[in-house]
């Protein structure tokens, strides 16, 4: 028995490796850099790492390879696009995370304890959130380019575990934040168990853990269909959990609400890109030939998800929960892109993911700004008259909401149009009808928020809009610009996506 030394193409893997390196450095920084310099160092390190990684992604954007890591990852157009999207979204999210006011000074301290107060007053702020973010991002980067089940599972855990922790780091309402972390963790682990179990059955079905091997078995059609179906179903549960599709969505409103807002924004945007990226690859390449078996069920889930998200969002009173339900509805729309199973669907999904992700970060950036003396105000009733007090913030929030609603001249409209037309092209007319219907319902609550902000008189309860820091301002401006530009002139990005959107297999 001989061992072959693994051949790794470091260039192609460099975006992820850079991130991991940055994360490890971050851990060291946390340990060794003085507390005065720590925050700045961490921030620059993180942003630098991300930018470097993005540059590396740019360098490899024309590469295609099945063998970058012994067949464990695939580097191809969609993978590169998704990685770039994740990195861009991460960068603007990190700008929000940089506002340490959102994070507890010492996560280990008891809420309300002397210890907590002391660390707050002394400015002894821990900044572990940065390396955690980088670890999560590297998991996200790996998730959509994984090409065997082991890598997929590892990537899933790599992106999930840091997020569980990050959800519990909020400085205010710490009990809720910890509860969010607990819920996220338990349910996440629960769903990974399903994921893993599904993997086992797929392995049993095909005697292979690689995407290519499983696909060949499906094409060959000789295996035990029950194994395949259960494997697919359970694997899908794990993925659907991550994207927040009904009935695997239940964690998301609670976690979105409890987690620190910058983390919520990051999680909502980047995780969705990663999870849908993986899902697209799996369904477009591995399961494509078993379409007959999953398409009806997934369509049903998509329809229920769209309608459920839209309907429940109507009656929400908390802006973060409302955005959570809105993201559930959007998961439904995105599932339509998966179901479409054609090139248009892939392109549309990638566009949608990027546009939606950026707008989501922007929307949560606005949420971070609305505060009173005890921190963020997420009760919608206290957002009344925001347009009067801070028109620009309100206008940008309205802009993001309009993008979510899919109003023309915003990126959301192009996304919605392209994804629905792809679904229609594949014959999923029911999905399009349900999508249109739930868009109408969804419009109702987006508009309700706009009414609150613009057409209602402000209440005098100390709610105010914090002057955005430069970084937050940058996030807002970038995400607004992307939202508008992609709405008005999406042609360059669409061309780019179209040029790159072919999975190699």
């Amino acid at each position: 028995m001989t061992f072959n030394a693994p051949v790794l193409n470091y260039t192609l893997l460099s975006p992820i490796l850079i991130l991991l390196g940055g994360a490890l450095l971050g851990v060291l920084v946390e340990a060794f850099v003085s507390k005065a310099m720590r925050a700045v160092t961490q921030l620059s390190l993180t942003v630098g790492t991300l930018v470097l990684s993005l540059a590396q992604v740019w360098r490899i954007h024309n590469e295609q390879s099945m063998s970058a890591a012994m067949g464990s990852v695939i580097i191809d157009g969609p993978g590169v696009l998704l990685q770039a999207s994740i990195l861009i979204i991460s960068i603007i999210s990190v700008f929000l995370i940089a506002d340490t006011d959102h994070f507890t000074a010492l996560a280990a301290a008891l809420p309300g304890s002397e210890e907590e107060r002391h660390s707050l007053e002394s400015g002894n702020q821990v900044t572990e959130v940065y390396p955690l973010t980088l670890f999560a991002i590297s998991g996200m980067m790996l998730f959509p380019i994984a090409s065997d089940l082991i890598t997929l599972f590892v990537a899933l855990e790599m992106l999930s575990l840091p997020l569980y922790l990050m959800a519990g780091l909020s400085r205010r309402r710490r009990l809720a934040s910890q509860e969010a972390a607990l819920k996220y963790f338990l349910l996440g682990a629960f769903s990974s168990a399903f994921f893993l179990f599904g993997m086992a059955y797929l392995y049993g079905y095909s005697a292979s853990v690689t995407y290519a091997g499983i696909r060949e078995s499906i094409v060959g059609g000789s295996g035990n269909d029950v194994l395949l179906l259960i494997g697919m179903a359970f694997l899908t549960i794990g993925l659907l959990f991550k994207v927040g599709a009904v009935p695997f969505h239940a964690w998301s409103p609670d976690v979105y609400q409890g987690a620190p807002t910058p983390i919520t924004g990051f999680m909502a945007a980047a995780t969705k890109v990663a999870a849908f990226g993986a899902m697209l690859r799996i369904y477009y390449t591995v399961f494509a030939n078993a379409q007959w078996s999953w398409s009806p069920l997934l369509s049903l889930i998509a329809i229920v998800t769209m309608l459920f998200g839209s309907l429940v969002a109507i009656s929400q009173r908390d802006v973060k929960r409302m955005l959570a339900y809105s993201s559930i509805a959007h998961a439904g729309f995105l599932l339509a892109g998966v179901i479409a199973l054609n090139k248009a669907g892939l392109e549309a999904s990638i566009f949608y993911l990027f546009a939606y992700g950026v707008a989501t970060v922007g929307a949560f950036a606005v949420v971070t700004l609305v505060r009173d003396s005890s921190g963020e105000v997420t009760d919608l009733n206290r957002w009344k008259g925001l347009g009067k007090r801070s028109p620009w913030v309100a206008i940008s929030f309205a802009g993001f909401l309009l993008a979510f609603a899919g109003i023309p001249l915003t990126s959301g409209f192009i996304g919605k149009f392209s994804i629905f037309s792809a679904a229609y092209e594949s014959g999923a007319k029911g999905l399009v009808i349900a999508g249109v219907l739930s868009s109408a319902i969804a419009a109702f609550f987006y508009i309700r928020v706009i009414v609150l902000m613009f057409f209602t008189d402000p209440s005098q309860d100390g709610t105010s809009v914090q002057l955005p820091s430069i970084l937050t301002r940058a996030t807002l401006i970038i995400s607004m610009a992307v939202t508008v530009v992609l709405g008005v002139y999406p042609a360059p990005l669409l061309n780019l996506i179209s040029h790159f959107s072919t999975f190699i297999r």
Partner: protein, 629 residues
């Protein structure tokens, strides 16, 4: 047809007057009435000039046209803004501008104390212009413009003193009921276009030969509906009495001499249709006969001098319509009666105005009496009109009305006898109520209050009355001498064979005069012998009660149309709010409700969330099991 370039001035002059007066506003208060009168008069002179030209041409060359511009042209629907003056319209032109000018003159004095006199004259000029357009238009659509234009002018003038709510209501009523008639005209135009492809008079006339009788009957009936609206014929007569709310000169000009006779013009103008549609023609006669009696009966019970005259107008137009419905032989007589009626009725209305002018605007005849002494000129001119309307020879009505009665009798068969009797009876009743008016107003004892200081009107008022009185006396003779009008108009109408004579003219005249004598005698006995109560007695016969209420026309309309209409409106307003908008709001509420209900899934307990995931997994497995079985 000869084209002219001057026809347009007939209309343009008064129209310009109206526009100038309205746009200039108060600035023209000082001279507005003079300008308006002058423009109306100049239009009259243009008319006279056209008449003189027309007289100089041979029969077939008399009609002239002037195309102004292409008005509407879509596909085959081509309407030019084009005028036509022929033997028929010149009669109307002269009547409208002539009587119109006299009434302008009269109004200068009559309205001198009104702060809005300028506006009044603007409306009068507007009316003259619209009425001229009505009679000069060369197609039904052009006529329609004038038709609604006079309706507008009539609305404005009835409601001239619209600060009184009742007057404002009267003007609205007139407009709405006229609109119902206008709808008929719309239908007629639509049918004509759909079947004949044209709506010009000449085009329709040519197309009549190859058009189905059904279509022609339809057009005829719809034209009749239009005529009943404008000419206050049964069943659209109810507005005319209320229209007396307008200043008296308006009643004289619009609601006696000209506008209300537009229906007669329409039917006469459309003779080619009615001649080819006997059913429609028969209905014209019937409507005429009914209205003739209807108006006459109302007239017997009215104490308001203007309303009595209005009822009389309705009745007299009934005669004209009836005449026009008798076919080729009747058209000329209808027009003749129309012209003579224009003189004597306008004269009497102006007389009534003069009386009111001297009596502090009192209109109740029971508050008059013995005015003969105080207003001799008014009495004389009114009296001449009275004799004319009665048909006493040689006054105007004698010629025109007897011709209609005679033609009615001679229209053949039972129809002829019935119509003849109705017209005769109508003549008798006319004599009764007109005598009543004369007696109550001018003779007997004075019954007016102490504040009243009856006096004769100034010359500006009595001069027009006098001129009209001259017309009342002479017009009948002039028009019928040597069958002048009949011959003048004859090129326009188809001629069928000579009609058989049931009764000779002499016999008819004798019968008519007898009826008139009876009517006069009864009135004399009833009102001249007995004391007239200055307050209307209430213990009167059921017939009088009903007649005082205009034969219940308003009650009928109220019960059959207005109340159900108002109820329907109220119901629909509620339905719109509750049902249609309610459904919309209901959808919203359902969405909100189901959203709230679905929120219940989110209990906050991790275990229930895990259960949800497990449930989802179980459902998926179950689905797979079902699929693979």
């Amino acid at each position: 047809m000869i084209t002219s370039t001057t026809l347009v001035y007939l209309i343009a002059l008064p129209l310009a007057g109206s526009a100038i007066l309205l746009l200039a506003g108060r600035r023209s208060d000082k001279w507005g009435h003079l300008l308006a009168t002058a423009l109306s008069a100049s239009s009259f002179f243009v008319g006279l000039y056209q008449l003189s030209l027309m007289l100089g041409r041979s029969n077939s060359e008399r009609p002239i046209t002037q195309k102004l511009f292409e008005w509407i042209s879509v596909g085959s629907f081509k309407i030019d803004a084009s005028l036509m003056l022929d033997q028929l319209s010149i009669c109307f032109v002269l009547l409208i501008t002539g009587v119109g000018t006299l009434i302008h003159i009269y109004s200068i004095s009559y309205m001198s104390h009104d702060p809005d006199r300028r506006r009044f004259f603007a409306f009068l000029n507007l009316f003259i212009a619209a009425m001229l357009l009505l009679v000069l238009g060369d197609s039904y659509l052009n006529l329609y413009v004038g038709w609604e234009g006079v309706g507008l002018a009539s609305y404005l003038l009835i409601g001239f003193w619209n600060q009184k709510p009742a007057y404002a209501t009267a003007s609205k009523k007139a407009f709405v009921m006229n609109r119902i008639g206008d709808m008929g005209l719309s239908f007629a135009i639509m049918i004509a276009f759909a079947t004949m492809g044209t709506v010009s008079f000449s085009g329709v006339k040519e197309a009549v030969d190859h058009t189905s009788t059904a279509a022609l009957t339809g057009i005829g009936l719809m034209l009749l509906v239009a005529a009943t609206g404008k000419s206050a014929q049964f069943p659209l007569q109810a507005w005319l009495g209320d229209a007396m709310a307008g200043p008296t000169p308006v009643s004289a000009l619009i609601h006696a001499a000209t506008m209300v006779t537009a229906g007669v013009y329409l039917i006469t103008r459309s003779n080619f249709i009615f001649d080819a549609a006997p059913t429609a023609q028969l209905l014209v006669v019937i409507i005429g006969a009914i209205t003739l009696m209807f108006g006459a009966l109302i007239g017997t019970a009215k104490d308001d001098i203007k309303k009595a005259l209005a009822a009389s107008t309705m009745s007299q137009i009934g005669y004209m319509i009836l005449g026009a419905g008798l076919g080729p032989v009747g058209y000329a007589f209808a027009i003749m009666h129309l012209l003579t009626h224009g003189f004597f009725k306008a004269g009497m209305f102006l007389g009534a105005g003069s009386v009111m002018h001297g009596m502090n605007d009192e209109v109740n005849m029971r508050k008059y009496g013995a005015l003969r002494k105080f207003m001799p000129i008014t009495f004389a001119t009114f009296g001449l009109g009275y004799l004319a309307i009665l048909g006493v020879p040689p006054f105007a009505g004698f010629y025109s009305k007897d011709m209609i009665i005679e033609t009615a009798f001679n229209s053949g068969g039972a129809k002829g006898i019935i119509l003849g009797c109705v017209t005769l009876l109508g003549a008798g009743i006319t004599a009764f109520y007109m005598t009543r008016v004369m007696i109550l107003t001018f003779t007997g004892k004075s019954r007016w209050d102490d504040e009243a200081h009856p006096h004769e009107s100034p010359w500006l008022m009595w001069l027009p009355m006098a001129i009209l009185a001259i017309g009342s006396v002479t017009s009948g003779y002039l028009l019928s001498h040597g069958d002048a009008l009949v011959n003048w108009l004859s090129p326009l109408f188809e001629h069928h064979g000579e009609h058989e004579e049931l009764l000779s003219p002499m016999v008819v005249s004798g019968l008519a005069l007898a009826m008139v004598a009876i009517g006069v005698a009864i009135a004399f006995v009833k009102y001249s012998r007995n004391e007239v109560a200055s307050v209307a007695p209430t213990d009167v016969s059921i017939f009088t009660t009903i007649a005082r209420q205009d034969l219940l026309q308003d009650r009928f309309n109220e019960a059959v149309f207005m109340q159900p209409g108002q109820a329907l409106t109220a119901v629909l307003v509620k339905t719109d709010e509750a049902v249609i908008d309610g459904a919309v709001r209901g959808v919203g509420r359902v969405a909100l409700g189901s959203g709230s209900a679905l929120r219940g899934v989110q209990t906050g307990f991790v275990r229930s969330y895990a259960a949800l995931i497990l449930l989802g997994a179980v459902a998926l497995v179950a689905a797979i099991w079902v699929v693979t079985q």
